[in-house]
Each structure stands twice: as C-alpha cells, then as structure tokens.
C-alpha cells in the first residue's frame, strides 16, 4: 500500500511538469493552428540551456529558470513570424506545411545540440534540489521531484491566470476561437500569436530545466516529450485547455505505475493504446469537451 501511494504521488508530481509542457502545445494548436512537432526539442534545449547557464554562472540551476524563460520567450517571439508566414502564404494545406516547418526546427535543434555538446548527457547542476523529503507513513520523495511538481502547478496556474484574467489573454482566446472575427475587434493577430508562441516556448523550456534536474539533459530526450504532448492533447480533447490538467496527471501516474509495477519498457505501448481507445470511444477527449477530431 505504501508503495502504491508513493508511486501515485510520484506520478502526480511528474504529471505537474507534463501539464506545463502540454498546455503550451495545446494553446499553440488553438491560436496558431500549428501542430508543433518541435515541442519536445524545446524541453531538450531548455534542459541544456539550464545546464550550461548554471555551470557557466556557477549558480544553482533553479536560479537560471527565469533567465531560461525570458530567453526562450524571445526565441519563440522570433520563430513565430516564420510560422505565420508559412501558415498564411498561399500554399495548399498550410497546416501540413507548418508541421513540416516545425519538423525542421526540431531537427535543427537536435542537430545543433549534438554538434555543440556531443551525444553524452549533461548534468543540470543543483545543490538545492537534492536529497529527499520524508512524509511519515508514506515514504521519502526526492526534493527535485517535489519542486518540479510544484513548479509545474504554479507555472500552469500563472499561465491560466494570464489567459483568463488579462487583456492579452482575452485577445489570445479570441484568436483561438475565430481569427477573422478577432481581427475585426481590433486585435493585432500576428502580435498576439507571437506572444502565445513565446509563452509556450518559455514555459516548455523551463519545464525542460526541471526535467533535466531529475533525469539530466540528453540530446535524444525530445522525442519522448513530443509524443507525451500529442498524448495529452488527444486525451484532453482537441482545443480544450483545462483538459490538459487531467490528461497530464493521467500521463504522470500511468508512467509511474507502469514503471513500478510492470516495466518502463511498456510505457509507450500502453500510452498509445490508451490514445487509440480514447479516439475510438470518445473522440472529444476523456472529458468529452474538446472539438471532435475530424
């Protein structure tokens, strides 16, 4: 029983950080109509940025998190106009072109990191997020995972606060609902798409720092998180942001449970079997609140 509860809590903590990866990905899908294949690579490059900055500045990786957010917000802001160009230029199937473009970004990121740092993993140095916290009667949890889970929840809360309580958030939600009508409200679409993409890139990269603290930075880690992001969006229901909170937690717990009780090797098989079943049974996501998958 203790092992079960411990596994459950570990899974929820992991789920917290997955939410912060999935929610930006889902937002970009809604606001830019872009399926960003590079999502996992933002996690990976974020982990490397955390590692390099913390080592270079000689400070704890936790303290470079704001720096990583700002840097990747700027990168996202810079990348978005290219995406905008690809999706609005006169090509057939702009969604497909955007997917190809983000594919390119993903390979560029991965290749760039491999060339610069080689194939080996790098530690993301921290002295604060080490050791464990013991909760009596349940067990000991690594501090790194506890802080990661808490960060995920706080970051997502801040993100949702921005979306639902500020003028910029209002603009972004209007664009997600109807781009043309949003323009007629006086909203500068390109600008707020850049803001949304910047927030997504910043959020995903900072999640990468925390994931790097737990598992180390690895040039090949990105693909896994891209797959996770797809999993969360389908499970949540396309276009239904709050659903990501549920699907992120489901993902974290499922991963923890299968790693503990079955085998880590089965995790991907089980996740995608689950996606398949959800698409068959409830195409609008497990909560039935998304847009139907056409």
């Amino acid at each position: 029983m203790d092992l079960f509860i411990q596994t459950l809590i570990n899974g929820l903590l992991l789920g917290g950080i997955y939410i912060s990866v999935g929610i930006g990905f889902a937002l970009v899908f809604g606001v830019l109509e872009v399926i960003d294949f590079a999502v996992g690579e933002y996690v990976m490059v974020g982990a490397f940025a955390g590692s390099v900055l913390a080592a270079g500045l000689g400070i704890d990786a936790l303290f470079v998190v704001p720096l990583v957010f700002v840097a990747f917000y700027a990168i996202g802001f810079f990348v978005q106009p290219f995406l905008h160009h690809v999706t609005t230029s006169n090509v057939p199937m702009p969604i497909l072109m955007a997917l190809v473009f983000t594919f390119g970004v993903a390979f560029f990121a991965r290749g760039g990191i491999l060339t610069t740092f080689g194939p080996n993993t790098r530690e993301v140095p921290t002295s604060i997020a080490t050791g464990g916290v013991t909760v009596s009667a349940i067990g000991t949890f690594p501090v790194a995972r506890v802080l990661t889970g808490i960060f995920g929840i706080v970051a997502v809360a801040a993100f949702l606060y921005y979306l639902y309580n500020t003028k910029g958030g209002l603009a972004i939600r209007a664009i997600a609902e109807d781009r043309t009508d949003a323009r007629l409200m006086g909203i500068n679409i390109a600008r707020y798409q850049s803001v949304a993409y910047g927030m997504y890139a910043g959020l995903t990269a900072t999640a990468g720092v925390f994931i790097g603290i737990i598992f180390a930075a690895d040039p090949g880690m990105g693909m896994q998180y891209t797959a996770f992001a797809f999993f969360m969006v389908v499970l949540a229901g396309m276009g239904y942001l709050p659903g990501i909170i549920v699907s992120g937690l489901v993902l974290g717990v499922a991963q923890a449970m299968f790693s503990t009780y079955v085998s880590g090797a089965w995790v991907f098989f089980v996740l995608f079997a689950l996606v398949y079943v959800v698409l068959l049974v409830s195409p609008q996501g497990i909560l039935g609140r998304g847009e139907p998958v056409s």
């Binding site: 006169n90 003028k167 209002l170 603009a171 939600r173 209007a174 609902e177 109807d178 043309t180 009508d181 949003a182 323009r183 007629l184 409200m185 006086g186 909203i187 500068n188 679409i189």
Partner: protein, 247 residues
Amino acid sequence: MTLQTNADAETQPVLVAEDIVTGYDGHEVLHGVSIQSHPGVTCIFGPNGSGKSTLLKSLNGVVPVWSGSIQYGDTEVTDLSPDEMVGSGIATLPQGGGVFGTMTVAENLSLGAFTVDDPTVVEERKAEVLEAFPALEDKLDAKAKSLSGGQQMMVSLGRAMMTGADTYLMDEPSAGLAPTLVDDAFDLLETLVDRGARIILIEQNVVAALRLADYIYILAEGDLQFEGTPSELGQQEDLMELYLGIE
C-alpha cells in the same frame, strides 16, 4: 469618440470609397466601385456573387484594395489593416453577428473595447450598452452561445458599440436568425441609428432591410447598377425585379 446623439448625425465623418478595384488571387471581383456612408442606414443589395461581401471586406481592410481610395472624414484609410480600422472608428459586425460563443457576454463586450485604453471610457460605454439592451444585464456572466439568437444579436451590436465607432459595417447580421426574429433584429439596428451612427448594411433579406434603408446601392457582377433613395428605387420596377427579385 463617444456615441453621439441624433443631432450630430449630419456631422459624422463620412466613409467615402472611390473607384475600388479588388479581388482574390488575381481574379478581379470589383471593377471600380464608388460608394459612401449616408446618414442612417446605407444598404448594399445585389445577387449572390455580385461582390457585395468583397466590397464590405475591402472597406474594413480584410481584403486589400488593388486600386482606388478609401477616406474616412479627413483620414486616408485605404491601406489600413482590419485592427487599425477599428481604431479609426469603423466597426464591423461579422456575418451572423459573430459572437465568441465560448466566452461570456461581459468578455465579448470587453473585446469590443479592445482598442480602448481608458478604463473609465470602457465602463461608460458598457453602461450605455446595457441601457440600450437591458436584457443583457442579467446575462453578463453567461456564455454567449447559451443566449437566444436575438440576444446574441444584442451582444454583437453592443460589442460593436463598445468600440466607440461612428460607422458600422454589417455583413448580413440576420444570417442564421429564425425568420420571425429578423424584424426584431433590424429594430435593434435602429438603436444604433438613433444614437447617430451611420450603418452600411449588406443583406440578403431585401424586404426586411428596405424598411430601414435610407440610401441604396445595387451591385451586380462587380459594378454598381443603381444608387439612390428607396423612393427612387421604387420607381425602377425593372431593377427591383432583375436584381432583387421583388415584383
């Protein structure tokens, strides 16, 4: 720019489009059309494919103008983007009203005031909207899609009023409304006219729209076929029958 009383109607800035040529993907739809906003409601009629929707979209900046010019009062607005148009005082009501269904009525109204930075102005306008459409008062926190068609129309009009515009471009506001509600919807437009606004209206429902038209343009195949007052149009029975299907 605040909402003005009827007495100011004659002094509102006039939207003047001259010799507009435009289209899509190299295919010319409008071949040099000149119109302007008249006091009250200016209606643009014409059969399907006549280019009236394209004309409206060139006026609000959604479709770029190939040649010709658009002036608003003393301001040149030919090449402004749709979001800049709103800031200049020209609001568009999208086809069928275009409310944001997943958002609350209050959020829809806030979106109307997106280009307004002064919170006191926003509050004043909101009060004016609720005075004009008291039915919305209880619905502020309701999702717009939960409202009836007529109430959604009020949200759409109220949202447009929040921009503080003096001129409203409307693309078939009655589209999607139950036929019994169309007359009520047009009565709501009178609310804006009473406040001194000028309206340019595109409408398939000619009979209902004629009731409030103060000036009429008829467009067919990308050229103007007629312009004048409703009584002048009434004398042109052939035109009425040919382009509007009214015998």
